[in-house]
Structure formats: structure tokens, C-alpha cells
């Protein structure tokens, strides 16, 4: 493997990692605070991409379309939380699994009803469609680089919000010890609604960013959901920091696995990696409930 290819694949790996982090951040905090297993998180990814494809064409402006789509996905998420999930927190994990799988069926079918069965396109604007010369002779797609930078900026903003604001402090308190946070007067349900909305919006953003690279189609969220779950489990459920580190690890391991190994092993390597981590530490690398 040449140094140029290695650099390119490293960037691809980080880009995938950042995207997985946007997915996993919502998942892990939702589980950490409310003990809720949300398998329908991949649906927000899909909804984001589909809504963006409509609004980018409608407004004729990529950024405006993306912003509208992120907001709409957040609203969809909060509607699901207030309308349904709010009532099942105290149920068993099995019930969570069943209800959120039911939601996947509903989201998939609603998407088919609204947008049809044919994949839709999410065009990249002209100013993002070229290549950037990172080093002499090393060209990298502008769009992918933009995704990487935006992703890192969002992750950084999220980190600052969680570690340096009052709401962020409530989120951390809720995630590490909910009964104690409640006893100390934190309005955990309200905090949770905020987290769920932001988590859904971030998943939507991840879907939008992936939209021009992969096909925008029904079921696009499921493979990513599984990778995000792997990230959450490796990082330690409920741990924000763990999710970030695990996301980068998974992104890089997955990207290099697919390039270096034969395809059968390449697509499995990430799961073997997870099994190895869990065999060593059954609650992940940075468990929030340690």
C-alpha cells in the first residue's frame, strides 16, 4: 500500500468515524439516560437524507435544504419521543426492541409511500464537487473533506455543550446516575426530550452527509445503525467520550479492513474487533455506569 493510498484511506476512515459518531452520540446518550434501546435510530438517518433531497431541490440551495432537513428530522424525533417512547421507559429491553422494530417498519413504509421505491438523488452543489490538492499529487474529493470538517466541528460543539454548559451537566448527570440526578432536582424527562431531539437531528445530519456518497433509499439506515451500535458497545454504553474514540477506531478499522483484506473477511472484521473488545471488557472501553 502506497503512502498516498494510506493517507487517502486514513481520511476516509476518519470521515466514516465522524459520521458514525454523529449516529452513536444520540444512541448512547438515549440509552445512558433513559435506559432505552432505540433500534429505530437508523430511521432518522434515512429520514434526514430523504427530506434533504426534497428540500435541496425545492430551495435550490444546498445549505438551506440541509438546515431545513436537520430541523425537520429533530422534530420527527421529538414527536416520536413525546408520542410513544415516553410511555415505555420503564418497560423491559425486549419491549423496547419490539416497539422500535415496529417503528422501523412504519418509517420504511411511510418513506416508500412519500418518495416511492426508486432511490432518489441528493445532488452535490458545484462548489463542493471538485477535488482538493492536500499535498502535491494527493487529491481528495472536496465533498468528503467538507463532511469530515463539518463532522469534527459538530463533534467539538457537542463536546463543549456537554462538558461546559448547564444543560450538558444535566445530561452527564442523567447518564451516569438517573435516580440521583432526579433527586437533586434535574428535570430528567425534559433533558431527555432535548437529547432525543438533538440525537435524532444528528442522525439526520449523518444521513444527509452520506446521501450524495451512497444511494438515498429505503433501508439505508440499517447497516449504519448496526455500525453505530457496535461503536456504542465498544465505547461503553452511555459514554460520550467512549463513543467518540470508538467511532474513530471503528471507522479506521472498517475502512482499512475493506481495502486490505478479501471482501468476505473485510466486511466482518469490525464485528470480530468488537467481539475481541467485549471478550476482554464485557461493558466496553469506557462504561458510564462503571
Amino acid at each position: 500500500m502506497g503512502i498516498v493510498l494510506a493517507l487517502e484511506q486514513t481520511l476516509n476512515g476518519i470521515q466514516l468515524g465522524v459520521m458514525l459518531f454523529l449516529m452513536a452520540a444520540g444512541l448512547t446518550l438515549v440509552f445512558g439516560i433513559m435506559n432505552l434501546v432505540n433500534l429505530a435510530h437508523g430511521s432518522f438517518y434515512m429520514v434526514g437524507a430523504f427530506v434533504a433531497s426534497t428540500f435541496v431541490v425545492m430551495t435550490g440551495d444546498f445549505i438551506a435544504g440541509v438546515v431545513i432537513a436537520v430541523v425537520i428530522t429533530g422534530l420527527v424525533a421529538v414527536a416520536i419521543e413525546l408520542g410513544l417512547l415516553r410511555f415505555i421507559y420503564t418497560r423491559t429491553h425486549l419491549d423496547h426492541v419490539m416497539i422500535t422494530i415496529g417503528l422501523i417498519f412504519i418509517f420504511d413504509e411511510m418513506t416508500r409511500i412519500i418518495w416511492g421505491v426508486v432511490p432518489v438523488s441528493l445532488p452535490i452543489p458545484k462548489y463542493l464537487s471538485g477535488f482538493v490538492e492536500l499535498l502535491p499529487g494527493v487529491r481528495y474529493p472536496t465533498y468528503r473533506l467538507t463532511v469530515l470538517i463539518v463532522g469534527i466541528m459538530v463533534a467539538l460543539a457537542l463536546y463543549l455543550a456537554i462538558s461546559h454548559t448547564r444543560v450538558g451537566m444535566w445530561v452527564r448527570a442523567g447518564a451516569s446516575d438517573r435516580p440521583m440526578a432526579l433527586a437533586l432536582g434535574v428535570n430528567v424527562p425534559k433533558v431527555f426530550s432535548i437529547v432525543f431531539a438533538v440525537g435524532g437531528a444528528l442522525a439526520g445530519l449523518a444521513g444527509i452527509m452520506a446521501g450524495p456518497i451512497v444511494a438515498v433509499q429505503v433501508g439505508m439506515g440499517e447497516p449504519v445503525l448496526v455500525l453505530a451500535l457496535v461503536v456504542m458497545v465498544i465505547g461503553g454504553v452511555g459514554s460520550f467520550r467512549g463513543a467518540f474514540i470508538a467511532a474513530l477506531m471503528v471507522g479506521i478499522v472498517d475502512t482499512f479492513g475493506r481495502v486490505l483484506l478479501p471482501p468476505a473477511i473485510g466486511s466482518m472484521v469490525i464485528f470480530i474487533f468488537m467481539a475481541a473488545v467485549l471478550a476482554w471488557r464485557p461493558t466496553g472501553l469506557f462504561s458510564a455506569h462503571a
Binding site: H93, I101, G102, V226, P263, M274, A275, P282, T283
Partner: protein, 347 residues
């Protein structure tokens, strides 16, 4: 948390029969399906209920660890699919007249199900032992997630199996037979599946009522207390995981033979979710619950899909409603009935 399973049924004579009566009724009704279908000249429904039987076997197998063991596994579709692939791959090699070369071994292809189905179960036993050894160490959500990840890993393995059709799947074109006796026509195979179902139900019933089963249930109810009584959870839960996987594999092998087809779609993780839903729909507190769930599930698919092309939407709504309002599944209705009868008899 209140556990509805802890409600005590009134003691009364005939509990043994009464608890199992629905199982006899379901199996009896299923046995009537082929003659009725043939009389109505509509063999389509034989296929539909064969599917219900095989899904029911897998869901009942899953329920050993789900309902009785309290372990929510999302990898049982993979056990089904891998068993199906073992049967399919061996048949494929027989058709090609070559051998399967793996790990230095050269295995001749065969369409003899008396060889390929047991071999499929051995493969699934090894697979479930290896994956279970890691999964069972984890608890709660980690167990759900790690089984889901293993399911997805095996799914990608099936997708990457290009010699066996890759994404498109593998048709079982070879002449399948039982040690020389050709595979019977649809009706005959229906009864073979039904016989397998009865064997699985009896086996599960014996396991659940055995000391092993009692320990498994105790571990679900309170692992700490069981540990205080000197029970080491790991070997029990691992053994249950393997038994459950192997029996699901039996359902999967019959499923593949019944459809004459196996594909990666059979291993999708949402399929594992379907199995869990089938079990819960029927009722996870009873050994026969998942069979009832499977029968109702295929009938729902039929009714909804005849009604609208967007039937998955209805399935989704239905799953949510059942989970919200019928927590103990359809078996709960049976339990309430016995309860009412018992109270009337005493009062």
C-alpha cells in the same frame, strides 16, 4: 418491576393437560391443513402453513433463552440461515459433482438430508458455542447488541459467498432425498415439518420442566439470588444458548428445504427481530406460545398484504399495539380463561 409471569395460577387437577391443551389444538389444526387445502384445491396454503411451522420451530427455540432465560438474542435468524446454507451448499456441490474444500477437508456434496441436516446442526452447534461463549459473558443491552452484531457478521458472510450466489442467494436444485427415499411432495414434507415441530415442543417442554430449566428460569428472575444459592450462571446460559441455536437451526434447515431456496435476506437482523416478535406475540411464558405466534404472524402477513401493498406499515402498527397492550401475548388470553374457570370451580 411487576412481573406478570409471577401471577400464580390456581392449582387444580388436570393442570398438566390444561397448560398444554392449546399446543394439542394448534398441532391438530395444522395437521388438518393439507387435507382441507387439497379438498378446496388450493395448495397455496400448504406452503403458507409450512412456513408457519418452520418459523414456529425457530421462534419456540429462541423462546427457550428469550422467555425462560431472559436473554434477548437477535441472532437466531443467522442460526436459521446458516443451517439452510449448509444444506444448500452440500446440495449445490452434489449437483456440480464436485467437493467442498474447507480447512484441508474435502467434503463430497450430498442431497441426502439425513446427512446434510445433522451436519447443519453440528455446524450451528459449533457456531452457537463460539459466539455464545462471548455473548453470554455480557448482560442486558450488551447481550442484545452483541448478538445483533454477530447476526450482521454472518449476514455479510452470506453476501460475500459469491460461489453460492452472493446477494442473490442459492437455489436448492439438486434432487433432495432421505437416505435414498426421495423427498416427498409438498404434503409429505409438510408432515415431516409438523413431526419436527412436535419433537421440538416435547423436547423444550422436558427441558423447561427439568432441573436445568428451573435453574435457567431462576437466573432470569434473580441472578444474584441464584448465585447466592451456589449457581454459576455461565454454563447454564451457554448450554441453553447452544440448545436454542441448534433447534433454531433445525427450523432453518427445514425452512430452506421447504422453500428450495436460501439467501442472505434470510439472515437479515430484522428477521431475528421477527422471530422475537413472533415469540412475544404468541406468548413467551408458554413453550407453545411461539407456535401460536407463528401461525397468527403468517396469517397477518397474508391478510395485510392482500389488503394493501403498504402492509408493512400495518405490521409495524400491529407490533407496537401488541407490545403496548398485550404484554403476555395471545397465550395470556388462554391463561385468563383457565384462571376464570379455576375461580368459578372453587367459588
Amino acid at each position: 418491576m411487576h412481573d406478570p409471569r409471577s401471577i400464580k395460577l390456581p392449582a387444580m387437577p388436570g393442570r398438566f393437560v390444561l397448560d398444554r391443551l392449546p399446543a394439542f389444538i394448534i398441532v391438530g389444526l395444522l395437521a388438518l391443513v393439507p387435507p382441507v387445502c387439497l379438498a378446496l384445491e388450493d395448495p397455496f396454503f400448504i406452503r403458507v402453513f409450512m412456513r408457519a411451522i418452520n418459523l414456529g420451530i425457530a421462534a419456540a427455540a429462541l423462546n427457550l433463552i428469550l422467555g425462560f432465560g431472559g436473554l434477548v438474542s437477535l441472532m437466531h435468524a443467522a442460526f436459521m440461515g446458516i443451517a439452510g446454507y449448509v444444506v444448500g451448499v452440500l446440495a449445490h456441490h452434489e449437483l456440480n459433482g464436485d467437493a467442498l474444500n474447507i480447512a484441508g477437508l474435502s467434503i463430497p456434496g450430498t442431497g441426502n438430508l439425513l446427512v446434510s441436516i445433522p451436519l447443519a446442526l453440528v455446524v450451528v452447534a459449533v457456531l452457537s458455542l463460539v459466539t455464545g461463549a462471548i455473548c453470554v459473558r455480557t448482560k442486558g443491552i450488551y447481550f442484545i447488541m452483541i448478538t445483533l452484531a454477530f447476526n450482521q457478521m454472518l449476514y455479510y458472510l452470506a453476501v460475500a459467498a459469491e460461489p453460492y450466489g452472493g446477494q442473490d442467494g442459492l437455489q436448492l436444485l439438486s434432487d433432495l432425498h432421505f437416505g435414498g427415499v426421495p423427498l416427498p411432495a409438498q404434503v409429505g414434507f409438510f408432515y415431516i415439518c409438523l413431526a419436527a415441530l412436535v419433537v421440538v415442543l416435547v423436547l423444550l417442554d422436558l427441558i423447561v420442566k427439568s432441573r436445568f430449566g428451573m435453574v435457567l428460569i431462576a437466573l432470569r428472575q434473580n441472578e444474584t439470588r441464584a448465585a447466592a444459592l451456589g449457581v454459576n450462571a455461565y454454563p447454564y446460559q451457554l448450554a441453553a444458548f447452544v440448545i436454542s441455536g441448534v433447534l433454531a437451526g433445525l427450523g432453518g434447515a427445514l425452512f430452506a428445504v421447504g422453500q428450495k431456496f436460501v439467501s442472505p435476506a434470510d439472515l437479515a437482523w430484522l428477521r431475528s427481530g421477527d422471530l422475537a416478535i413472533i415469540a412475544v406475540l404468541g406468548g413467551i411464558a408458554m413453550v407453545w406460545g411461539p407456535i401460536l405466534g407463528a401461525v397468527v404472524w403468517v396469517m397477518l402477513e397474508l391478510v395485510f398484504s392482500a389488503w394493501t401493498i403498504h402492509w408493512l406499515l400495518l405490521i409495524g402498527v400491529f407490533i407496537i399495539l401488541v407490545t403496548l397492550f398485550l404484554n403476555e401475548g395471545l397465550a395470556e388470553l388462554w391463561k385468563r380463561l383457565i384462571f376464570a374457570i379455576g375461580r368459578r370451580n372453587r367459588g
